[in-house]
Symmetry: none
Subunit: 242 residues, 2 copies
DNA sequence: TCAAGTTGTCTAATAACATAGACAACTTGA
DNA sequence: TCAAGTTGTCTATGTTATTAGACAACTTGA
């Protein structure tokens, strides 16, 4: 790829770092694999070796690569594949990848439904809702923060229940709902906000995948709606097509 | 650079330019309106007036603002956000919603398949591929940049063909393929890199949705694989769940 | 053991970025 | 007309980015 952006206002080392990061995201450089040598990278980007070193240094600082003296520089972190299906269960996805899923309650509170939330849940504006905020991890790596709203009438004391069972599936089972499915999923991206950044152990300015979803019971009646923020650098969504 | 911005790799003038551009994009500075004076901008960004002048110069060069000596600097072109709300599949996102889709060839080249690409396309590593890089717009707003790989043997001269027809569907039709479907779609997010930022007319540090997809023919044989980067602030994906 | 290739660490020179101050040329409204 | 505020242009100076070369320290495979 050609580089040289005359006066782009972006430092060369940054352009190189971006390029390598994209290569890692692509899978052109797989996890655990050795990157090309600094000299070779310098040649492909038509840049001095010191510039490459600076790029690699920033990637190493963020934990994406690890340099081994005399040997090479290696790709550190892979992304978790996250299928978006109608029966998406966080615990199953993480467990399938050989990692241990964990849920952690951040907080629960009661609040009236906004017009938007009411529409999602098929209720009237102002209906009391329970709002549960939870952090989910794979092994010890924070993956996402989810804010879930449920009707307070249908799920009394849902906050304390979640705190005990630490799983949305188990929470619903506790109220007698054994089958539910994903009715809609909307995905977009944003920059992480300050509070999420701390909980997700994410640097400010990093991207998050924002997923709005609504789950319904077997008869199609809305049960809960969730807005989850995923650390984009740790997750990859898999969309199933026909 | 400056005291607060520890080695971001992005020049101060570029940060100021991006900030002003975003202000224009979200309507804080309306079309025809006068911007704050150079001195005032310098104060708000805690930057020298010369740095602001450089930022404004680049915006003026791109036609976003126009300086009038003795009077002020005025917003030239409105930057309307074009949210793409669509109930269609990913393949039909561009072109939905009554907007005129346009494709613009950035470049085409031949390169051997990496292991990853070969796997996607069901070919052997090293098989010659044609790589097409294209920018897609809705009306005049850049929506995404897509990099597409096709087998060179099956689609000879695909680069020039795309340049003529400016549509992947029409390109396939040209080689006798009238029916194809999306086999897999993977979505994640990242920060826009320097070269994409310029082409998408996107400020540095803004998020992009990265979509990897593979299309197959009626019998399920892979035709092409694409990695597209969408300007997240202009797009929202709706995932259909059974 | 040895040679080739790797990352780590120096020094040095040049180009680009950023700040500082001063003043000219122009517009606007009182 | 005049004062205040604006953009345009100049000189000067310090900081950061980038390139260049050399060598040390280490790993790997023959």
């Amino acid at each position: 790829m050609s580089m040289q952006d005359a006066a782009s206002g972006v430092a060369l080392w940054r352009q190189v770092a971006d390029g390598i990061e994209r290569g890692i995201a692509d899978g052109r450089f797989a996890a655990g694999e050795r990157l090309p040598g600094e000299t070779e990278i310098a040649e492909t980007y038509r840049v001095n070796r010191h510039t490459v070193r600076r790029a690699l240094a920033t990637l190493a600082e963020r934990g994406l690569v690890r340099a081994e003296r005399g040997s090479g520089t290696y790709v550190e972190a892979p992304r978790i594949a996250y299928p978006l299906r109608s029966r998406t269960r966080f615990s199953e996805i993480v467990g399938a990848g050989g990692r241990e899923p964990r849920g952690q309650l951040i907080g629960a509170s009661e609040e009236p439904a906004t017009r938007e939330l009411a529409k999602q849940l098929g209720l009237k504006t102002g209906t009391p809702l329970i709002r549960i905020e939870a952090l989910r991890l794979a092994d010890r790596t924070p993956i996402c923060i989810g804010t879930t709203w449920l009707a307070a009438a249908q799920f009394p004391d849902a906050g304390r229940t979640y705190e005990r069972v630490r799983s949305m599936t188990k929470l619903l089972a506790h109220y007698g709902i054994r089958d539910y499915r994903r009715a809609s999923t909307r995905v977009t991206a944003a920059i992480v906000d300050a509070t999420d950044a701390i909980r997700l152990d994410l640097a400010l300015g990093r991207p998050v995948l924002v997923v709005d979803s609504t789950d319904v019971d077997a008869s199609g009646r809305p049960l809960l709606t969730t807005r989850a923020r995923f650390a984009a650098e740790r997750v990859e969504f898999l969309v199933e097509n026909g």
